[in-house]
């Protein structure tokens, strides 16, 4: 297509470098046929948090937190207070006698923490002048406390009173926190995972104790998630995926995702001066209990917890690094990437097992960043018996910068946030038109006619 626009002029060299994964413009399974562009941020939008079933909050490098109504696309609140970029955001729910109140906790590079009421836009609590900026937040609903992780681990109660704190030994600080059974907490620090125990003494004061240090990763840990009650998983920069027992804290499975051709491929990339991190880096992990979806470089990797094996994968699922992923169901998943697109995938069974698996099958794929419209869709079958196919069913193109994150409101739509300062609300056009018709007839009725 580009070629005819260019009028015969030769297209970019990348265009003919390799066949590119492309679904084309016909996407019958893609139901997002309507979009709203939400403007309000002035810098990269990095975080999206779902507040309830119709609201979400977005936060980014401009220090702003905006609350949106997903149904209408209206901006409900603008939470101003942080002077620097937001580093972490989470929701905290307070159970009153009658209602559930959801508040937002934000952490910023300005070394402050704030509690916001998204209904009114008020800053309810704030703590500034922390020793370091907070990189991750974890709410323990059970104990009515929340934790902040950075260079030190702090435990706070709902009223923003510091319960206890624990200085850190590592330089990098805590990058991720998860809750484990029996009041234990796992924190990712560089290459190690620290297990802390949280004990409530008789006078209801809290104390944190370091229990164990898991140091099986060879490289920096990028992702740490709970899989189910008995398992948690972590992924490192060099592509190690480790499955841990949540109670015993021992290693259950070690998977090193090695794209076999990747070594020299990487080298070529590096020689070409591409400033990309390693192709094997696990950027993001997500799970639904049965499957773990790992975003590895620009590829996707589905790992089954039961069989402890790879179910399906795409080495190049995007033109660039995948930043966020989500498992919609056991066979549907979604990913977003630095290339500005969101892609929807389906795990499909292979129609026919054809050739036997070869260890060199990865070599069939050599992709570069390229223009995906410039060739016919390439649907190569991956022919290995135990591996199913990850089939692209649709893509959402709208952002002009990297898509940082997305939040799905199931049928109400999907919110994506991006480095181009925008949020896009993707919706099902048919549903929206039905809703509009409903509103129309309601208004008609109210007015008693035209």
């Amino acid at each position: 297509m580009l070629r005819w626009i260019l009028g015969g002029r030769e297209a970019q060299s990348s265009a003919e470098k390799s066949p590119v994964l492309c679904i084309g413009e016909e996407q019958p399974k893609n139901c997002f046929t309507e979009l709203q562009v939400l403007k309000g941020h002035f810098d990269i939008v990095r975080f999206l948090v779902q507040i309830d079933d119709f609201r979400c909050a977005s936060a980014g490098d401009d220090g702003l937190v905006l609350v949106w109504n997903v149904e209408t696309g209206e901006r409900l609140q603008e939470l101003r207070g942080h002077s620097q970029q937001i580093t972490a955001i989470t929701t905290i729910t307070c159970k009153n006698e009658v209602t559930l109140n959801t508040s937002l906790i934000t952490a910023s590079s300005d070394r402050s923490l704030s509690l916001w009421d998204p209904d009114t836009g008020n800053r309810v609590q704030t703590i500034s002048d922390l020793h370091s900026s907070v990189k991750c937040l974890l709410v323990l609903e059970r104990l009515c406390v929340w934790l902040s992780g950075g260079e030190e681990l702090c435990v706070w109660n709902r009223d923003f009173q510091l319960q206890c704190q624990r200085p850190n030994h590592s330089d990098t600080g805590i990058t991720a926190l998860i809750e484990l059974p029996k009041n234990y907490i796992a924190a990712a620090m560089d290459k190690k995972i620290m297990i802390y125990s949280l004990t409530v003494s008789a006078d209801s004061s809290l104390s944190v104790a370091e229990i164990r240090c898991l140091s099986d990763h060879q490289d920096q840990i990028r992702a740490l998630i709970n899989v189910n009650d008995g398992l948690f998983a972590s992924g490192s920069h060099m592509g190690e995926l480790i499955l841990w027992n949540a109670t015993e804290w021992n290693l259950l499975a070690y998977e090193h995702i090695l794209w076999e051709e990747s070594q020299d491929y990487n080298q070529t990339e590096i020689r070409m001066g591409a400033p990309k991190p390693s192709e094997m880096s696990i950027q993001h992990l997500t799970t639904n209990g049965n499957l773990i979806l790992a975003a590895v470089g620009s590829g996707l990797y589905v790992y089954s917890v039961q069989t402890r094996s790879v179910v399906a994968y795409r080495k190049v699922a995007h033109d660039s690094n995948v930043l966020h992923t989500m498992l919609l169901s056991d066979c549907e998943l979604m990913s977003c990437s630095e290339d500005g697109s969101v892609r929807m995938w389906e795990i499909q069974d292979l129609p026919l097992p054809a050739e036997p698996a070869s260890s060199g099958f990865f070599g069939m794929w050599s992709f570069g960043r390229s223009n995906k419209q410039s060739g016919p869709p390439s649907k190569k079958v991956i022919d290995i018996p135990n591996i199913r196919m990850l089939e692209l069913t649709g893509d959402l193109i709208g952002h002009s910068g990297a898509v940082q994150m997305f939040v799905s409101f199931t049928e109400k739509g999907l919110v994506t946030c991006s480095a181009d300062h925008l949020l896009i609300l993707w919706k099902n056009g048919e549903r929206q038109s039905r809703l509009r018709s409903l509103a129309l007839f309601q208004k008609l009725e109210e007015r008693g006619g035209l």
Binding site: R9, E25, E34, S400, G429, Q432, S433, R436, L444
Partner: protein
Amino acid sequence: MIGSPDVVAFAKEDEYGQTSPDPWPLPEEFSVPLYPLADSNPWAKTSYAKFTKDFILISEFSEQVGPQPLLTIPDDPKVCGTFDLNYFSLRIMSVDYQASFVGHPPGTGYPRLSFVEDSRVVLGDSKEGAFAYVHHLTLYDLEARGFVRPFCMAYVAADEKKIMLQFQELSLRFSQASECLKAGNRRAFAKELQRKLRDLEYTHSVLQREEGLQREAGPQSMYSAHAVEKANELANVEKSIFEHRDLLKQISSYHRRPRRDPHAVTCQKCVDECLSECEELLNKYAKIAYPCGYSEKAGKGEDGQGHPRGQGEDDDDDDEEEGVKRKLSYTPQLIKAKSAKCFDKRLKTLQELCDKTFYEATVELLKETERSFRGDLCYLYTRRLDKALQRKQRVTAFLFEEDLSDDDEDELGTLRPFCAVNHAVDNYVLLNPPPIVLTPEPHELDALERPEHLDPASETSVTQESELGLGESHLESSPSDQTLETQESSEETKGSFSSDKSGVGLAEMQQGLVSMKSEAPDPDSDLTPDPNHNLERESSSEEMETTAGEDEGENGGHQTPVSLLEVVSELEANREEECEGVSGSELLAPIDTACCMAQEGFLYEASAPEAVPRLCQNFHLQPSQTLVVNQEPQALLPLQDDYTVGSPCSESPVTGLELPSGLLGDAVSRTSAEDGSDCTMSASTGSDQTASPLGYGAVVTLRQRKKAGQGALRFVRQYPFAIQALWCLLSGRTLVVLGADEGRVRRLVAALALFVPAPGKCGERVQAWLSCPFTLTDLQRWKLIGLQRVASPLGSSMLYSLSRYSRYISILDADQKTLRCPPYRGQLLANIADHRTYIRRGSTYFLHLQSTLCHLAAKAFLFTFTHHLHLPVSATEGPEFVESRRRCFLQEQLGLGEEDSQILLYLSQLITQQYLQPNGSSAAAPSFSFNYTTSILYKI
């Protein structure tokens, strides 16, 4: 009927027909002559008028040379052609309605300014083929006879129907212009009075000084002839001062007088300003103590070298200083008597009579009026009908019609009281125009009952309007009631004036004044640069002794009727006398009688000399009545046939509009012929400016749209894939026109903009020329984009955005003549995108297009507001049922295919959005719909 044009057309070959001789030629004596001057457009009646276009004529009844034309609008000699303006001025000014009732009313000493309301008359001249709406007005001039100068503004057209049926609006427009002129005139008049008063006072002081000298000379000289003359002179001057002061008072009381003319709306701020100005003047001159009493005192031998006068001087010393110097050149005799040779003096021009700004504003207003009445009746009607209908279908009008919300200035929108100085912003009051009355006034005598049938519609709207507006009574409502008021108020003023007569001596003085002879005019008067000054010096006191108007009672019933017209007015006069105090509702009849009388053979008596004054009086009796002087009875017949409306239905009081449907067809074709000037095929080579009316921020006018019709037609004829492009636009897919040549791209965009649904008032959804890469938001905002193709890094990033968003757009390459868009196989657009179309004219195509789009909009409306097509009928139904029902409706009932349905769905979506958020003002971002389909490349 043998004479009808369609028969005639076949009766004889014209020279362009076949030349082969008819084997059975009709004998010469039986052949029917062709329609007179059939060489030109048979639709245009102008063919036998001597002018080509309608124009506005301003004439004056000069007291020196009689009726004379002053100016025409448009000010172009071509307009009137060989039409004799002088003769026509004579005709229209022969209805000199305000001649009576000036000067001294009986029983008063002071001359009165007559506050005559404007009169509105329709006149016709069959010989010239000219018909005119004539609006008479009077302006005040201190030097004119009776202080008044009669003027008239006439809208001259060849089509009588046009005048008759546009009467209401013509009247409204011209009233505005007239009010504007009069407001300026009052200012100028007050200023003139001020100057005159100053002069008089000076004269007075000089005379007094002389008298004092005489007194000193000795008692014997006090009774010399010279002294008596001097005393008379002094008395005259004093009287003159009183009179002028009174005039000033009168002119400043102008606004307090109840207006009987419903169209007379003035800008409140102007009125206030004028009032305060006058009041200031009044105060100023009230300070000069009564010169009369003073002189009496002086006569009794007190010294009185003018202490009270000195006060007056103190008020404005420096002003007075130079005034004294200037006035030293005056000889007091100048003011003492009227000039016998009134033909010598130079009368003020219209510009001088009115303030300059007001004059210019009036001319502007008249120009605007002329513009808005261009075109023939059918055209005007269609346009109006169009607008009225459009107003009714607010829900869908935004899709393809021009935006109506801001055409307040437009002829049919709410008219604002015109203000020359543009005070309009803060203080205007909305004034609703009269309802469009397409029914002419009834022409039968039995139509006396008709007003009851006719008027409820208009009446209701009138009452609404008057509640909304200024609470005025409507023109139609009760003319005789109004005339009654005139009489009463004049009676009142008479009474009041006779009571405040100050001295008995005045009457004598007046006679003295009359007897005086004026001296030769000042020799240097013509050399004086200031015209006002000049005039002022020559000013005579003739206005002071004009005889009072005749008693109204006289002309009431004792004359032998000269014409039927007179009978009418006589009847009215009688009725007025009879039913004083009866409320206006039952007095609706006079209008109709007037009209119907006019139909009869009231031929040339009107211009007969002895009929004129009587006529004038009659006219004066009904100043604001719609009086029709029709000299061509048969001209009314088609009018009756065509335009009489069966039942003025009460459902549509807002528009009050009825038109037999048969007219519509004509009207449409006529419209295209009307402005055929700008739509010839060859005229499309225009430059960039003319070809691209679409600018961001400017309101797209109908004219521009019609011009774009030409471009659209060319596009359709030139490109075989035009239908796909149109489909993209109509189904809401953004179309990008890509090209290197700005002019070509802009032209294409301008042409294609016609097809963009809901383009916005100023074409906000269209971007004519973009030379930077676009983003998703741009796609959302613009539905039609002209994009520059550049061969540079910028160009490649632009191409990148093109390919990136290719799923949302269609790309029309203007250079390579290709179109990339989803395939369209529907039939819905076949008739507007037929490249073998026989339509040759752009405006014809535009209308064709409009009607197609209108159909579409109607279907979309139906679709949108049909409940069961969108929502389940019962609770058990799932969305699939609704979906299948909708599909069935679109496919089977409307006969639309898949792609055609998309058009309807898109339009429906727009309607829904517009309905839910009428102003488009919601906090939420606009949503952008699309669908995932493959595009294919069309080549020429």
